[in-house]
Amino acid sequence: MKSVIEYFKGIYNGIKSLLVGMSVTGGYFIKPGTTLTQQYPDNRDTLVMFERFKGEVVMPHNEKNEHKCTGCGICEINCPNGTIEVISATEVTEEGKKKRIIDKHIYHLGMCTFCGLCVKTCPSQALAFSQEFEHAVFDRTKLTKVLNQPGSKLMKGVE
């Protein structure tokens, strides 16, 4: 007799638990306002990433096409993956001294793991992360970027 009661109790509890589950999904079905889907390519204009979002490493230039990179190579040393290659050149200053300047700051986006060590360790804050996140390209060579713009100069006052 006891097992018969157990049998029907099992049926009752089972059906009850199923109905509880169905009430959750059914509840969401009747309130479609709770959907979280973002219409991604359509909302590009309004899509704002967080300011600290690590999209890709960039070198900010000011309006006079000047950057802060001195070509010291600390970022290259600190990068764990060999993402950054600093090719420096020498320049003769007005006083006649030889000075090391940046020729090309090469950044391999395909190898970058976004650890942030280059940005953090740069002594002159020449590097920063941009909020760009659409990195897909059809040609892998396009992932290798030169960060300093052509013809750019070192910002005054940065050593």
Partner: protein
């Protein structure tokens, strides 16, 4: 010629007569056949496409998503786009597969669903095949699709498929009983197996109300068992994507896969339609005894809308199951059938018979 959307029998009779009057009887039958064939084909395609779209929308809303919304307004043409894409997908021939059985399987599942579709009473007179053993016929034909599933799994030369097919076999072997038993319960109440008569008998009350508790139990068992028979979640053990990747149709690609997909949805429609016919009064409108005004409004709605509406509600219920519950394991599936459904069902039939004999039903 008077034509009413509430009774199609005069309409079909008129077509028959005018055809026979203008040509030889043989040709008339052939043309009638052609008409029926084209109509049922179009209806089949529309139901299939709509149900795929509906399922995607329903599950999306239940899961806090939007679902398809890019092709057409609200994504309504998404299924058509998918279909076109599937048409242009390679039909991969599998190494060492049993080629004949492999290509035969989609035919079987589709033909089985077509033959079941033809026996459904959509409205009064809108009924292609009205057999006097209609219930029996539907049971027989709708379980034929499983042969296709078994063939597909066996012929694929794939271990997952084979396991899926075996599971499907075990499943059909069990749940066939429950479907049959719950239909017996209603046949006891109706006293006939002809579908049109079953619907007609529900003119003054649907069987689920007239047979009260036993009919309700029979309905619950029927809907669960037929979900299992159509291989839908939570009984989709033959596919069981997290265990068997895709089960019996792992190796099917392109349009061949689409047929299995289509057949699944059509079968869902068919079982919901059967449930509507035998439990919810088919195309009979919802009437409450004594509420004359209400009944008049209800009677204004055409019967095929009633039929499709009730079927749609049941399909929604089946979808709701699928998107809420986790999948059962094979032994639980069998336990559910043999230790719960079968004993309950047997007793249920007897209670129903007793109620009918004593005249306790409404």
């Amino acid at each position: 010629m008077e034509f009413s959307i509430y009774d199609f029998s005069s309409f079909t009779a008129w077509i028959d007569q005018s055809l026979r009057a203008s040509m030889s009887p043989g040709l008339a039958v052939a043309i009638e056949m052609l008409i029926i064939g084209v109509v049922i084909l179009i209806f089949y395609a529309i139901v299939g496409l709509f149900l795929v779209y509906a399922e995607r929308k329903v599950c999306a809303l239940m899961q806090n998503r939007l679902g398809p919304n890019r092709v057409g307004p609200g994504g309504i043409f998404q299924t058509i786009a998918d279909l076109v894409k599937l048409l242009f997908v390679e039909l991969v021939p599998i190494k060492n597969a049993d080629k004949i059985l492999f290509s035969l399987a989609p035919y079987i599942v589709i033909i089985a669903s077509f033959m079941a579709m033809g026996a459904l009473p959509f409205a009064k007179g809108l009924h292609a095949i009205d057999l006097n053993i209609g219930v029996f016929y539907l049971m027989a034909v709708s379980s034929m699709g499983v042969v296709g599933v078994l063939l597909a799994g066996w012929a694929s030369n794939n271990k997952y498929s084979l396991i899926g097919a075996m599971r499907s076999g075990a499943q059909i072997v069990s749940y066939e009983l429950s479907v049959g038993m719950s239909l017996v319960t209603i046949v006891v109440l109706a006293g006939t197996m002809q579908l049109s008569e079953i619907v007609q008998a529900q003119q003054y009350g649907w069987f689920i109300f007239r047979g009260h508790i036993p009919a309700l139990i029979a309905f619950v068992i029927f809907i669960v068992a037929s979900t299992a028979e159509t291989n839908r979640g939570p009984f989709d053990l033959a596919e069981a994507e997290s265990e068997l990747t895709a089960g019996f149709h792992t190796e099917y690609s392109g349009i061949r896969f689409a047929f299995f997909f289509l057949a699944e949805y059509i079968n869902m429609f068919i079982v919901a339609a059967i449930a509507t016919t035998v439990f919810f009064g088919g195309w009979m409108p919802f009437n409450v005894y004594g509420w004359e005004g209400f009944n008049k409004v209800m009677n204004l709605i055409p019967p095929f809308i009633w039929f499709l509406g009730k079927t749609g509600a049941l399909i929604f219920l089946i979808m709701w199951f699928k998107w809420t519950f986790p999948r059962l394991r094979i032994d639980q599936l069998l336990t559910l059938e043999w230790k719960y459904f079968l004993p309950i069902n047997i007793i249920n039939v007897l209670i129903m018979a007793l109620i009918v004999l004593l005249g306790w039903h409404w």
